[in-house]
C-alpha cells in the first residue's frame, strides 16, 4: 500500500512537468520550486487557521499568477532554444528557492494532517489521508487524460504540438494556448505541493528532490502517453520504495539514478519506444 501511495503521488508530481515538457518542449527546472510554493501556500493557510481545502484555490492562484509572469518573461522569448530555457529556469529555481528561504526561513515546517484517523485496507490499517490522496490522484489524472483525448482543446493542443506553423495558419492562437498549457502545468505542481505538504517536511529545498525524481520518471516512461507516465512512475517509485525498505534510502536513490542513466543512454525515448 505504501508503494501504491508513492507511485500515485509521483504521478501527480510528474503530470505537470510532463504537460509542460511534452507539449511545449520546455524543460522547466523550476518545476520543483512550484511544488514547494504550493506546499508553503498550504502551510500559510493552515497557519492562519483556515480550513485545509482553502489551500487548493490559494495554491492555484499563487502558482497561476507566477506562471503567467514567468511564461511572459522567461519562457516565451526562449522557445526553440532548449539549452537556454534550461538555464533560465535553473536560474529561476534558484531565485524562487532563495526567496522562499528569505520569507519563511530555512528551517522545516510541518503541517497538521487534515484528515486524521485510519481506514482498514485489506485488513491492515492505513492513514485515511493517504487513501484520500490516492483516490483523488487517480481520479484527477484520469479526468485530465480523458479530457485531453475528447475535448476540442485537447485536439488543439495536439495540433499545436504536431505542427505549430500549420496550427497557426488554420487560426489557432498558439501563443495563448501555449501560455495556458504552461499555467495549467504549473498549477498542477502547486496542487501536488498542497497534497504532499502534510506528509513531508516542508523546506525550501524540497523542490530539488521532486524535480530530479520527476525527470527520471519522464525519462523512463517516455513522453506523450499516460501509460508511459504511469509505468515510469511505477518503476521509479516502486524500485525506490522497495530498495529503501530492503536496504536503506541511499540505496533506493542510487538505484533510481542507475536506472535513469541506463535509460537515458540506451532508450532515451522510454520503455515503450520502438527502437
Amino acid at each position: 500500500m505504501n508503494v501504491v501511495y508513492e507511485v500515485t503521488t509521483l504521478v501527480v508530481i510528474v503530470l505537470g512537468l510532463a504537460i509542460v515538457f511534452g507539449f511545449l518542449g520546455v524543460m522547466n527546472l523550476a518545476h520543483g520550486e512550484f511544488i514547494a510554493i504550493g506546499a508553503y501556500t498550504a502551510y500559510a493557510c493552515q497557519a492562519r487557521g483556515w480550513p485545509y481545502l482553502t489551500a487548493i484555490p490559494a495554491a492555484c492562484l499563487v502558482c497561476g499568477a507566477l506562471a503567467l509572469l514567468v511564461e511572459r518573461v522567461l519562457i516565451r522569448p526562449l522557445y526553440q532554444r532548449p539549452f537556454d530555457t534550461m538555464l533560465a529556469t535553473w536560474g529561476l529555481s534558484l531565485l524562487l528557492r532563495k526567496t522562499v528561504e528569505l520569507v519563511y526561513g530555512g528551517g522545516y515546517k510541518s503541517l497538521v494532517v487534515p484528515l486524521s484517523g485510519s481506514v482498514s485496507v485489506l485488513g491492515a490499517p492505513f492513514p485515511a489521508y493517504r487513501v484520500l490522496l490516492i483516490v483523488l490522484s487517480l481520479a484527477g489524472t484520469s479526468v485530465l487524460v480523458v479530457w485531453y483525448r475528447r475535448s476540442p482543446t485537447g485536439a488543439r493542443i495536439k495540433a499545436m504540438v504536431g505542427n505549430p506553423e500549420l496550427a497557426q495558419a488554420v487560426g489557432l492562437r498558439t501563443g495563448r494556448l501555449a501560455r495556458n498549457t504552461f499555467v495549467v502545468g504549473t498549477c498542477l505542481a502547486g496542487l501536488a505541493g498542497v497534497m504532499v505538504a502534510p506528509l513531508t517536511p516542508v523546506q525550501p529545498y524540497m523542490g530539488l528532490d521532486y524535480i530530479l525524481k520527476a525527470f527520471f520518471v519522464l525519462v523512463v516512461g517516455g513522453l506523450g502517453s499516460a501509460v508511459g507516465l504511469v509505468s515510469g512512475a511505477g518503476l521509479i517509485g516502486g524500485v525506490e520504495s522497495a530498495m529503501s525498505a530492503i536496504v536503506d534510502r541511499t540505496w533506493g536513490y542510487s538505484t533510481v539514478l542507475l536506472i535513469a542513466i541506463v535509460f537515458l543512454w540506451l532508450r532515451p525515448r522510454g520503455i515503450f519506444a520502438r527502437v
Partner: protein, 576 residues
C-alpha cells in the same frame, strides 16, 4: 600561435602581481575562483565549441579532488607526490573520455539527453562519496589535507592556481585554434555533415569531453591542497550547475568567457555574502538577465578581434599529403538490397553495378529511391537484406565516416556547408578528410594545407579565394558550388551528387557541368548524379540508371533509356 603565447604570458604576469596589491584574503579567494575557472574552461570547450552541454562536471572535479586528497594525506612529504597529482587529473580525463565514447557512439545528437546523463552521474558520485565512510570520510569529507610540499602559504597556493589557470587558458587556446577546434565548431553546426567528410564525430566529441574532464581534474587535484578539505559537495549537483552558470554568464563562445564568469561571480559573491542576506537572489537575477539579454555572455559585449587583417600577410601554404586510397578503377556492386521502414519498402531488391569510371545518372520519379540509394550506400539508411561491394571487397557495417574514408564522397541536395565557419575552414575540413590522423588534428599547420585541386578550383570559382569570408555570407548558388568543391577536394573515388544544379542559374549550371567533367577526367573518378534536369542528364551521362519503386527498372546510355517503353510509362503514369 605566437599571439596566444604572448597573451597568456601577459595574463600570467598580471596575475602574479595581483596578490601584492590585494592582500592575503583575496589571494586565497581568488585562488579558489581560478581553480573553478580552470574547470569552467572545460565546459567552454564542450558547450561553446562542440555544442553539447556537460551538466555534471562535479564528477570529474570531485574524483580528482578525492584522489589528490588521498595522495596528500598518505605521502605528505615525498617529492614524487607531485607525480600523483597529474595522474589524478588524468584519471578524471580518461573517465570523461570513456563516458563520452560510450554515449556518443552510434548517436548523432547533442540534445539534452547527454546533459542529463552527466547530471545523473554526478548525483550518483555524490551518493557514493556521501555514504562510503571508510574511503571518503562520508558526509564530513576528507579533513586536514596538507598543502603542497614547500608551498604551504596562502600566497604560494595562489601562485600555483594562477599558473594552472594561465597554462589552462594557453592549452585551450591551442586546442580551439587547432584543426580539432575547427572540427568541433563544425560538428556543433552540422554533425552529420562532418561525418560525411570522414571524421569520426563520436570520437571528436569524446575527445572534447575528455579534455574538459582533464581540466576539471586539474582544478580538483589542486582544490584539495588549497582548501585542505574535500567534502561530497565537490561531486554534486550544485558545483556542477554553478560551473555551467559561470560559463554562461562569462560567455561560452569565447575562450576567456568561462574565466571571466567564474572570477566575476566569485568576486561578486564574496563581496555580497557578508553584507546582504539575499545575495544569492541577486546572483540568480543577474544570471537570468544574462541568459535572456546576452546569449553571448559578458564577453559577448566585447567585439570579436579580427583574425588577421585581410591581405596583410598571406599565410604560407603547405602542400597536403596525398590520400592513401586503392589504385585502379573503382568498382561498385549493389546486389539485391532491401530496406524497409515500418510498412514502407524504401528499397526493394535494388541491384546495380558500376564497372569503370565515368558519369552515371540516377533518374526516376519522386519516391523511386534515388536519395535512399545514396543514404544506404553511405550508411545513413540501414538495409535488411543484400550486399554492397566496393572495389571488390564486401562492405559490412556502413557508417558515414567509414564510407568517406573508403573514398565515397557526397554532396547533398540542399547545400550543407558550415555557415559560421570561414570559407577556408570549410574547405580544409574537406581537405583533412582521409589525410589527417587524430594526432595531426592538433597541429595548427594543417590549417594552411593546400592541394593542386584546391588551387585549380579557386581559379575556376574566384569567390573561393576570399577565404576569410563566413560561409553564411554566400549566395545560394555559391553555397552549392562550395559544397561541390568540398566534396571534390576530399578526392573521393566515388562521388555521389544529389541534384548538383538545384536552384542554380543556367550559367552556373554550365560551369558546374564543366567542373564535374573536368574532375572526372583529372581525378579519374566515378560520379553518380541524381538529376531531374533531363538536359543535364543528356549532356553529362555516360550511363543512366532508371529507378522505380525501390528497384532498378532500366539502364543503358541516354538513347537506350529514352527509347524504353517502360521508362515512358512511369513518367507519363500509364503503368497499367
Amino acid at each position: 600561435m605566437g599571439s596566444s603565447l604572448a597573451s597568456s604570458a601577459a595574463l600570467l604576469a598580471a596575475l602574479l602581481v595581483l596578490p601584492q596589491v590585494l592582500g592575503e584574503f583575496w589571494a586565497f579567494q581568488l585562488a579558489l575562483y581560478f581553480l573553478y575557472a580552470v574547470a569552467a574552461l572545460g565546459i567552454g570547450i564542450c558547450w561553446g565549441r562542440a555544442g553539447f552541454l556537460p551538466l555534471g562536471q562535479g564528477l570529474f572535479f570531485g574524483l580528482s579532488a578525492y584522489l589528490s586528497g588521498f595522495a596528500l594525506l598518505r605521502f605528505a612529504d615525498s617529492w614524487w607526490l607531485l607525480l600523483l597529482l597529474p595522474l589524478a587529473a588524468l584519471a578524471s580525463g580518461l573517465l570523461a573520455y570513456a563516458i563520452g565514447l560510450l554515449v556518443f557512439r552510434g548517436r548523432t545528437e547533442s540534445g539534452p539527453y547527454f546533459a542529463l546523463i552527466t547530471l545523473a552521474l554526478s548525483l550518483f558520485a555524490f551518493q557514493v562519496a556521501n555514504t562510503w565512510n571508510g574511503m571518503t570520510g562520508g558526509y564530513n569529507g576528507l579533513k586536514g589535507i596538507p598543502g603542497l610540499p614547500a608551498l604551504d602559504s596562502f600566497a604560494a597556493t595562489y601562485y600555483v592556481a594562477a599558473v594552472a589557470l594561465a597554462a589552462a587558458v594557453g592549452a585551450v587556446w591551442w586546442l580551439v585554434e587547432s584543426p580539432l577546434g575547427v572540427l568541433w565548431r563544425a560538428l556543433a553546426q552540422n554533425e552529420r555533415r562532418v561525418g560525411f567528410f570522414g571524421h569520426d564525430t563520436a570520437q571528436l566529441k569524446a575527445i572534447a569531453f575528455g579534455a574538459s574532464g582533464i581540466l576539471a581534474g586539474v582544478a580538483g587535484a589542486l582544490y584539495a591542497p588549497q582548501q585542505g578539505l574535500v567534502t561530497p559537495e565537490v561531486c554534486g549537483f550544485v558545483l556542477s550547475a554553478d560551473l555551467v552558470i559561470w560559463t554562461a554568464v562569462g560567455g561560452r563562445g569565447r575562450i576567456l568567457g568561462p574565466v571571466v564568469g567564474a572570477v566575476a561571480i566569485g568576486v561578486l559573491t564574496a563581496e555580497l555574502r557578508g553584507r546582504i542576506g539575499w545575495w544569492e537572489i541577486v546572483v540568480a537575477t543577474i544570471f537570468i538577465g544574462v541568459v535572456l539579454a546576452l546569449p553571448g555572455g559578458l564577453m559577448g559585449l566585447l567585439p570579436v578581434r579580427r583574425q588577421r587583417s585581410r591581405g596583410a600577410r598571406a599565410p604560407v601554404l603547405l602542400p597536403a599529403p596525398p590520400r592513401q586510397l586503392a589504385g585502379g578503377p573503382v568498382t561498385l556492386a549493389i546486389e539485391d538490397v532491401s530496406s524497409i521502414a515500418g510498412e514502407v519498402r524504401i528499397l526493394d531488391g535494388l541491384s546495380l553495378a558500376i564497372q569503370r569510371p565515368g558519369i552515371y545518372c540516377l533518374i526516376g520519379p519522386n519516391g523511386a529511391g534515388k536519395t535512399s540509394t545514396f543514404n544506404m550506400l553511405t550508411g545513413e539508411l540501414p538495409a535488411q537484406r543484400g550486399t554492397v561491394t566496393l572495389d571488390g571487397a564486401r562492405v559490412g557495417v556502413r557508417t558515414p565516416h567509414g564510407m568517406a574514408r573508403r573514398g565515397v564522397g557526397r554532396k547533398f541536395q540542399i547545400a550543407s556547408v558550415f555557415p559560421d565557419l570561414t570559407l577556408d575552414d570549410n574547405l580544409r575540413i574537406a581537405l583533412w578528410s582521409g589525410r589527417a590522423s587524430l594526432r595531426d588534428l592538433l597541429r595548427p599547420a594543417l590549417r594552411r594545407w593546400d592541394s593542386a585541386l584546391l588551387a585549380a578550383l579557386r581559379q575556376r570559382f574566384t569567390f573561393l579565394a576570399d577565404g576569410l569570408r563566413a560561409a553564411a555570407a554566400l549566395s545560394h548558388g555559391e553555397r552549392q558550388v562550395l559544397e561541390l568543391a568540398m566534396a571534390l577536394i576530399g578526392e573521393p573515388r566515388l562521388l555521389l551528387l544529389d541534384e548538383p544544379s538545384g536552384g542554380l542559374s543556367s550559367e552556373e549550371t554550365q560551369r558546374v557541368i564543366q567542373v564535374i567533367r573536368w574532375a572526372r577526367q583529372t581525378l579519374g573518378l566515378c560520379v553518380v548524379i541524381i538529376e531531374h534536369d533531363m538536359a543535364m542528364v543528356k549532356e553529362l551521362a555516360d550511363h543512366v540508371f532508371v529507378l522505380h519503386q525501390g528497384r532498378l527498372l532500366a539502364e543503358g546510355d541516354v538513347q537506350t533509356v529514352r527509347a524504353d517503353r517502360r521508362v515512358h510509362d512511369i513518367y507519363v503514369g500509364a503503368s497499367s
